[in-house]
Symmetry: D4
Subunit: 175 residues, 8 copies
Amino acid sequence: LFNSLANGEIPMPDVLIVMGSQSDAGTMKHARDTLDDLGITHDERITSAHRTPERMVEVIKGAEGEGFKVIIAGAGGSAHLPGMAASETILPVYAVVPQSSSSILNDIAGVFSNIQMPAGVPLGYLGLSKAGATNAALLAARTLALADPELRERLRAWIANQADAVPKKPDFTKV
Amino acid sequence: LFNSLANGEIPMPDVLIVMGSQSDAGTMKHARDTLDDLGITHDERITSAHRTPERMVEVIKGAEGEGFKVIIAGAGGSAHLPGMAASETILPVYAVVPQSSSSILNDIAGVFSNIQMPAGVPLGYLGLSKAGATNAALLAARTLALADPELRERLRAWIANQADAVPKKPDFTKV
Amino acid sequence: LFNSLANGEIPMPDVLIVMGSQSDAGTMKHARDTLDDLGITHDERITSAHRTPERMVEVIKGAEGEGFKVIIAGAGGSAHLPGMAASETILPVYAVVPQSSSSILNDIAGVFSNIQMPAGVPLGYLGLSKAGATNAALLAARTLALADPELRERLRAWIANQADAVPKKPDFTKV
Amino acid sequence: LFNSLANGEIPMPDVLIVMGSQSDAGTMKHARDTLDDLGITHDERITSAHRTPERMVEVIKGAEGEGFKVIIAGAGGSAHLPGMAASETILPVYAVVPQSSSSILNDIAGVFSNIQMPAGVPLGYLGLSKAGATNAALLAARTLALADPELRERLRAWIANQADAVPKKPDFTKV
Amino acid sequence: LFNSLANGEIPMPDVLIVMGSQSDAGTMKHARDTLDDLGITHDERITSAHRTPERMVEVIKGAEGEGFKVIIAGAGGSAHLPGMAASETILPVYAVVPQSSSSILNDIAGVFSNIQMPAGVPLGYLGLSKAGATNAALLAARTLALADPELRERLRAWIANQADAVPKKPDFTKV
Amino acid sequence: LFNSLANGEIPMPDVLIVMGSQSDAGTMKHARDTLDDLGITHDERITSAHRTPERMVEVIKGAEGEGFKVIIAGAGGSAHLPGMAASETILPVYAVVPQSSSSILNDIAGVFSNIQMPAGVPLGYLGLSKAGATNAALLAARTLALADPELRERLRAWIANQADAVPKKPDFTKV
Amino acid sequence: LFNSLANGEIPMPDVLIVMGSQSDAGTMKHARDTLDDLGITHDERITSAHRTPERMVEVIKGAEGEGFKVIIAGAGGSAHLPGMAASETILPVYAVVPQSSSSILNDIAGVFSNIQMPAGVPLGYLGLSKAGATNAALLAARTLALADPELRERLRAWIANQADAVPKKPDFTKV
Amino acid sequence: LFNSLANGEIPMPDVLIVMGSQSDAGTMKHARDTLDDLGITHDERITSAHRTPERMVEVIKGAEGEGFKVIIAGAGGSAHLPGMAASETILPVYAVVPQSSSSILNDIAGVFSNIQMPAGVPLGYLGLSKAGATNAALLAARTLALADPELRERLRAWIANQADAVPKKPDFTKV
């Protein structure tokens, strides 16, 4: 259960990162790296809503039983993986659109395939590319931190570091 | 098999019309009516990619075995039913977006959720609302007519009637 | 703390619904009603990022201390409330855009003001209007259910009811 | 007729690929290659709706008589070739937009010139660029497979191969 | 020839207004009325690029021989009539998109189907709805006035009247 | 000069509101009313960049000499009045797009005709419709308040009133 | 006057190409080259609606008196030159948007600044970049050919050459 | 106070340029350079609405007291800095969107996050990238020139120089 982190057992990974293809890995790595920074356990799978629909159902339906608590799903173009994931689980699902290298129309399709879900199947859309993937991990962290005071502190520190890293004056010699 | 129409058996319906909810029925009726006009048999089902994902898989996966030859799928918003249907069958799938009564952003989402499918899972997009539904039926008719010379003649007649119905001069008294 | 629901105390409300103005209440009511359906406690506040920026900071910064666990934020046009909320708290923030009665450009502005947050400040975007508000409540429920097995069961029942409510056949007499 | 593949005659090519100019050939080659992979016969022609309108009418009107069963049409910008093809034949016509090397506005024009056909003239839109061309070939294959059990098996194998080629885990060392 | 207006013969109508269907007549009437205001002769025809492609070719190809000097073409959705007209004649062709009563996506399709013509086939796009139709007539008038000094004077008077009709102060009691 | 308000003379109006036609008056009235609320003097003129270009030049070029300090310009569709105003004066020019009653494409055209001015000719874009007109007046007020401490106090009071008018809780009985 | 070509005088140039800046020359050169190909005389001027508004009025107002018959106007971003030209002359004005090297938003602004002109001021929009400039020249040629049978023959030859240059088969070895 | 320029004191800088991150400095430098050209004093700060919200409030709220008269704010993506600035001060705020190096969707988000502010909080939007930043500085100059006759003359000279720099003829040898 959710308090397994507190009682000394080896925890199952908390976050499942799924993506539609290997070409999404470059973007989704930012989610993984951010989870690592925050000490959050995770696993990654590739499964395509379109090319491997049965495996997708298996992976998503199995996630809760495997002990995952949050799913981060990334897919581009007419992206159905995040929305289908949201319909096959009751875990929170956070969507990312890996930016297309070929056409902005792919990105527009990715965004709109995620942001107008019908009432009844919630999908939290986090954004495009690196920013989207990083933020999906951070939202997963905020979600998990609700029951994990230590993670909450690590998250506070991460945010404070981020604020400290913002310079107070622009450096025009570097532009 | 495909030549069942020629050998006197009672044919199974040829076209399966699936839609995500009852609210799509107003649009999808135009597909049904056009199929009726052309003497094409059909059946209709509601199944939601998001709210009834298991039933969707069942309905779509079963369609080929039930003897259907073409699937027409209609769904709006972040519309995943047509694309998921294309990934769960090897029958031709033709997509329609029932126009949203609430927001044009729903229609934009519907269009882009259908028109940027990844390579490997073909989905023929026919259009929005009445025109899209009518044309999905007509493309189903063209598809079925490849093996059905009588349907081909009915289709030719339909097209000729349509051309005849175009007046040669506008009537400005009616505007 | 998070396990207050388990130990018999009177729980603080779990979800804070903030909105930019009274005109957003019609949409945000769908979030409230969905939370009520699931037995989730909540409170609502109006605070405008633009017209009452100081109060906004107070309300959002105070939410964690008041015991809220999730924030649902709704604002339209150049919508800054959800993003600013995400930057003033470490609770999960879920954004909704109440549909504008005046111009679709307001809705486009609302969507894009929410979906391209910079890396570091996660905002989960749920959608427009009634569907968005309902889904924001459902994502809040999924989030809270991670630590609340009873809520998880209520949520499962809600989802099952929703699936059961999907008719199997369209009724063309009603269109 | 349609069963010519079964009775040992040398079949006429089944699929006609038409495109508006030589510059579309790079995209349309993906349709050709996919048809080759599936053992589907084809021929290719260039004919421009705008620069050679008479030849376009000749080519399209003649396609049925030449024994073609499906037409794949590719054109960009204010793309009229696919829609005009659909109006000059009763064969199924599948549209592809070769991605423009000059401006995204060309691609937007290509998409919208194809996806809002008036009721009465069905055009199945498959998508942009390589994905669109590949999928047009796959939809042609699904269409032809309705009357060709051997093609149906080759198509099933193609789909299974595609599924097998999806790795189960992302390889982050390759990004 | 073009100087027939100067030598006393009964002139053939100068402007051919073509439209895709009777439903376009409400918009195209504004072109007709403006031509009437300026004393320019005209005729109107309905011919659909999609539903009556052969008649379209006939009408457009015949226009030059019938003595028309300018063609105004109106069509909506994936509008191919204006562009096809431009490719079937060497007369100037001016395009109008009658505003759709059903969906803004129809208007967007109409605009983009007209404004990205390939190099080699010029189509002058004038705009949407009443303003587009009125301006198509005015551009026809400017075109014809190049060889018709009297029309040029009528046009100058029309422009002066239009300027005089602009009030110098807004009347806020009327809003 | 600018300090005329301080020395007892009767001041010339400070703000010139120009609009392209009477149909813009409904929107621009919100600018006028807001100026009145703040005790800022103003005058209004109609002048069309397209239908009365000479008068437009006269009005705008004359504004500085007449003693105006800020120009608010409103025009829709392919809106050239605000940008031309900015190029014919060195006073600050603030643009508003009155929302079109006919097509969202008019509003999109209005926005983009104002927001991508070339370097060298600054145009401050304030927004669409009532919100844009109100905000243009408020920005004029902020501009004038730089040299008018009393106006600055009236503006502070206006802002405080606005904040006070935001209710703290939504009233769901009114939706 | 318009018949000067017939009476042996040295003709004034027929087409005035105006553009907003030197950076537009790369695009507008395609208009010039096409006019040269067709033996149409022309002159070019730079004049900015925004940076040199007085000179713009002079150039455009003077065009008719200088003997020009058609104006081709090119400008990008919030492009006011073509529309202002249309309002300062009664000659036909054809608009081109030189493609921006910096942002697609500039091109969108250019298009919408040209295509939604108010009723009363006609502007024929020809398109973006090289295709737009070439087509503006071709529409000028069609316009001038109405009174110039020799130009009409040269234009017919140009069109025939263009058709002949379209290959009948794609060459896949060149892609 | 505002008259400090008149009484011989060392003036505080007049314009505060704020930006969300160092990556905006390349764009905002154009504002700084233009202010320098016009002899306008300025200071620059980095402060992020999202990553350093408290510092943002401090910087913006303090600007008036520090003697700044105009604020230029630049931020991209879901850009909240300019709008929040406008809500935290009564100084005029002019917004710029630094063009994104990653995705046009970031620029669209930046534009729409700025141009649909609610009534009550005025934000003058100047544009994208270099043109936007230059124009923000020029609008600041126009604003300050209202009370500074010498600046007004420098601004007139700048505008005249700009007009003189526009060549009268394009140079086609340079394209």
